[in-house]
């Protein structure tokens, strides 16, 4: 690594940490319904939406009503996107005259964009019409991110509520997340990206003649507007197949810097908002630095692996336009944050760096994680840590004064179990099913990594692909689609049940007999529990995939 590489990484971290408090504070005020700088600008829109949709701002919802609203809303989004793809041929804004999407691919894509996974088994420019990209995919990019925020808000309110069942109002939370947070930031980012050369047009694909005289079709489209939210909403579904490795999605170093920053920006700031909302900023910072530490650890390991091993075969396929450092930085951010966008192909990473990517996702996308979803996922791990370690101080475990009992523990375990089960069972079956194995481009341990990565990415709603695996088959489309749904709602529903159960509990005041959650010891414990749960669950699978591949590579055997 050169000085320049170190500087890029350090500047990235500093900007991220620097932006966290102001944005976090702003969001906390938005979610608490307080006045902010944006109120005069967007307030009219908020009220208009309430009136238009018949939303009663003051209606309080308990966990059941809140969850029901959330589920119906998501189902509606899913159906709309599914039908849109099946009918895009006859709908307008289809200059390339693309055919209807196959049912299995349409199911996979609808599930993928509803669940904030944004796994893409299709290639954008040859599959989706402008209309589908704009009112289908881009809209879901916003809505799925906002859904994550609403769940986080409900859970937070459950934690701070004093013995009442209300968790707020789903519609209000949804509207506020959209128009005060996601929309303004996306517009800002889209405009800047556009200035850097990201395309934004409704005109049709251009034909060009190359220097060799060959004919080339250059795909265009309204990309900048989708890419902004793709990054900010931890979505990751690229407009083009090459995602952010494509020069029209990611043209300049500045664009690259902003796009990778946008991946972690909101998830990181939300941790600060959480600290503000629970009235314990110290605890908020603690969670932030636990996440940051794991992020930094993974980043360091991956960079070390990429730079220390110099063998000709290993540099196959590496991204040279933005460089290794930026590829690895992006990789670490996107796998930590449930984003799934790529600016290089991970299949070409060293096995260890690829393993870091996979392990980041296996941790459950809680290292910053998806917008909202990362934090509520992390809170599940916090509850598990509190339960296990809290017993050791001789009291019924409690978090923020709320007792962690049977119901909470049950739901926490369920939320860890369901995605893990989807990964292991899915990948296990794919490993022995001929129809699944035929999609592999590599054999040996790398093939296992490809399969494992696909199921991990889908079940934890990351959406990044290892590449190398042809996932656009009926088997993968259907099974991975189901994995995404299990991985998303298998965590959301437990989170909502926990919110409902905690909301009605009374708050035990803090004393010296209380298990403290805002000191270094707790941070260390949290990291320990997080990694041990991840390692214990996936160590056997990882050892036969990336680990053995890495060891073989050291012996000079590549796959």
């Amino acid at each position: 690594m050169r000085v320049n590489d170190y500087l890029q990484v350090i500047i990235f971290c500093l900007v991220l940490i620097g932006l966290t408090p102001p944005l976090g504070l702003y969001m906390a005020r938005v979610f608490e319904g307080k006045k902010t700088v944006m109120s005069p600008v967007m307030g009219w829109l908020e009220n208009l939406l309430y009136r238009l949709c018949g939303i009663n701002q003051n209606e309080e919802m308990d966990w059941k009503i809140y969850t029901k609203a959330l589920l119906y809303f998501n189902l509606l989004g899913f159906l709309f996107l599914f039908v849109l793809q099946l009918a895009q041929k006859i709908l307008p804004l289809n200059p390339a005259n693309l055919p209807n999407v196959a049912w299995d691919s349409a199911f996979n894509t609808a599930a993928s964009f509803m669940t904030n996974t944004n796994w893409q088994s299709y290639a954008g420019e040859t599959t989706m019409s402008y209309l589908t990209q704009m009112i289908g995919l881009t809209v879901q990019n916003f809505l799925s991110a906002a859904t994550g925020i609403t769940v986080f808000l409900a859970l937070t309110r459950g934690l701070i509520s004093k013995s009442k069942s209300s968790l707020g109002n789903f519609w209000v939370d949804m509207v506020r997340s959209l128009i005060y947070v996601l929309l303004p930031l996306s517009i800002l980012l889209a405009v800047i990206l556009n200035s850097q050369g990201v395309v934004q047009t409704l005109s049709s694909y251009k034909d060009a003649t190359t220097l060799q005289g060959a004919n080339q079709t250059i795909p265009l489209g309204p990309a900048a507007s989708q890419i902004a939210i793709k990054q900010l909403g931890t979505n990751g579904g690229g407009f083009f197949n090459a995602n952010s490795a494509h020069p029209f999605e990611n043209p300049t170093p500045l664009a690259n810097f902003l796009e990778v920053l946008a991946i972690l920006l909101i998830p990181a700031a939300l941790v600060y908002s959480y600290g503000v909302m629970i009235g314990n900023r110290k605890h908020g910072w603690l969670l932030f630095f636990v996440m940051f530490a794991i992020f930094a650890l993974g980043l360091g390991l991956a960079l070390w692996s990429e730079y220390s091993i110099s063998s000709a075969t290993i540099h196959e396929g590496q991204e040279v336009r933005l460089g290794i450092t930026n590829s690895v930085l992006w990789m670490t951010a996107t796998t930590c944050a449930s984003n799934g966008s790529v600016n290089a192909m991970y299949s070409s990473l060293t096995p260890l760096a690829g393993g870091v990517a996979m392990f980041n996702i296996m941790l459950g996308e809680v290292v910053f994680g998806g917008v909202g979803s990362g934090l509520y996922g992390m809170l599940h791990i916090v509850l598990l840590t509190v339960f296990l370690a809290g017993l050791m101080v001789g009291r019924t475990p409690e978090y923020l004064g709320k007792k962690i009992e049977r119901k909470e523990v049950q739901m926490v375990i369920l939320s860890i179990l369901l995605p893990s089960a989807a990964i292991l069972i899915g990948a296990g079956i794919a490993c022995v099913l001929p129809v699944a194995l035929s999609s592999l481009s590599s054999k040996g341990p790398h093939g296992l990594s490809e399969i494992l990565y696909a199921f991990t990415s889908a079940s934890q709603n990351n959406g990044s692909a290892f590449a190398g695996l042809n996932a656009n088959t009926v088997f993968y489309n259907v099974v991975l689609g189901l994995c995404m749904i299990i991985g998303r709602f298998g965590v959301i529903i437990p989170a909502m049940v926990i919110a409902g159960s905690l909301a009605v509990k009374r708050i035990t005041p803090v004393g010296s007999g209380t298990f403290a959650t805002d000191n270094f010891l707790f941070a260390a414990l949290l990291v320990g529990v997080l990694i041990i749960v991840g390692v214990l669950t996936f160590f056997p699978a990882l050892s036969l995939g990336p680990l053995v591949e890495h060891l073989l590579m050291l012996k000079g055997r590549g796959f």
Partner: protein
Amino acid sequence: MTKTIETNNNMIILTAVKDSFLKLNPKEEMRNPVMFVTFICSAITTVFFFRHLYGGVFSLFELLISIWLWFTVLFANFAEALAEGRGKAQAESLKKSRKEVMARLLVNDKETVIPAGKLKKNDVVVCEANDIIPADGEVIEGIASVDESAITGESAPVIRESGGDRSAVTGGTKVISDRVVIRITADPGGNFIDRMIALIEGAKRQRTPNEIALSIVLSGLTIIFLLAVATLKLFADYSGAAAGQDLSSIVTVPVLVSLLVCLIPTTIGGLLSAIGIAGMDRLIRRHVIAKSGRAVEAAGDIDVLLLDKTGTITLGNRMASDFIPAAGVEQKKLAEVAQLSSLSDETPEGRSIVVLAKEKFELRAQSLHSNEATFIPFSASTQMSGVDFHEKDKKVYRSIRKGAVEAIKKDVEARGGSFPSNLEAEARKVSSSGGTPLAVSDDNKVLGIIHLKDIVKGGIKERFRELRKMGIRTVMITGDNPITAAAIAAEAGVDDFIAQATPESKMDRISREQAGGHLVAMTGDGTNDAPALAQADVGVTMNTGTQAAREAGNMVDLESNPTKLIEIVEIGKQLLMTRGALTTFSIANDVAKYFAIIPAMFGMLYAGQNEVRGPLAILNIMQLHSPLSAILSAVIFNAIIIVILIPLALRGVAYHSESARTLLRRNLQIYGLGGLVAPFIGIKLIDILIVWLKVVQ
């Protein structure tokens, strides 16, 4: 009781060994999901062993794995049986006290003798000296001394009398003197001693909320490991095919099953119920009967203690500490008169005055003859006691009185004297320091005042400091006025007090603390304490208390020692800590087991043509001898660790009154770090032993 247990120790272990086999019944094992999975795994390996044997292949490895898996199940059963056994021994001795008692039933003033088992609620029975009280009840007539050693272990007899707070009697105890009439308050089988036996035997043991929550975590982990191991077979098949190797000789069902059993939390799973039973048992050893395990757990969460001043914080009685004479009176004179007034006063206060006078001025107690003096006992209406000296014709010539300042003042004024104003100031000073002033008068002259002082128990202040460190606030309850209460509270170091306490004010305080999110414990004995005892999260009733109070609380202290509350809290905390510590230990163990079994299974995978080892062999950091020895060692360690930890599970982890932070740090070091390191050492040692014994290759 303790003695019986020790002599029966060998018996208990033998019975527990027998019971651990009896518990090998699927229905019984199903109650514990972790051990049930182990049970199934043992059965599977056994089937494999016999199938291969039938096919003509004797696999020593499979036999050994089967045996050690069965041991794992048996060891867990043994832990539970041992915990239960200790209780059963106690129950036996209790049952003896219950056998075949005859009751003297009283119907219309006529006695009939019937077996105690036939008594119903509201029957009335008579008991005289040497009768065993046939069932729980309330004394409605008479007074008697009762030997309650059968249930309390305390040999000194106690007084039981009708009315008041000492009316409850317990079936199975023995009347030593006098005669009482008792109204029965329990139906057959519902007696205190019956319930106690049921509790100790663990027959009615219900799992407590925290235990259930922990079981859920353990079951969840078990399912995750089940998935990890089941899918490992599929990944192994893929890898074997990809490497062109045949792994079927090492990735076998018995090996996978061994991995599963090693990974699932068998250590805590096997000891969980023993920990719960032992917690109850520790309470019983301190002569406290909890009506439910829930109450024991709640005790660990307590953060406010309501303590009665008298008997808990201060010694039961006030003691004379000083003589303050009125102007112009010698201190010695005051002491002399005060002593005279108290000679026949048998109350502890009275005796303390005699003793103080003797200590200070060497005044020997004179004996008064009844023909020259009459003792005037204390009465609530006069608020005074004293002595009258009289001629033979009963004409009183001298009256000595001592009593409350107000009462003496009135008395002296009635006799034409007056109360010196400077003495009134002195009296106020005594009051404000937490003492009680007792004025002494000789006819119409006030001689001075005696300073009666509440003596705070030795060591109690340090106890409260420890409690504060643990995050527990203490609130003193007293009938004293606020000034006196404040002074004693300051001296004892309690955090708060309720002066002039009434049942309502106690109840009010508890509700207020609970509304603020606190968990409250209190002790009580009187009927008027019943509502507060019921309201408190942990209500400990003194065994001397009334039946109503005993019903209201969720624990009964057989020794009637109010300080016991503090120990109860510690036992509750210890119970939870033991669970947490062993869970942490159990999970931390898994890391080493992966390092033993994964390289054993896949050490050869992707090995080059001329290589003896594949790349994953480097995970064998313990340098275990061979794949089979590695797997066997891990399985044996996994089984043995249960036995090694049984004493800890029964005794509970060491507990000190410390802040949560210190406790956590220490427990993490011992059980977290220890749990990580111990199996590496243990498995390696077992491996060396196996190789030395040439058990497997």
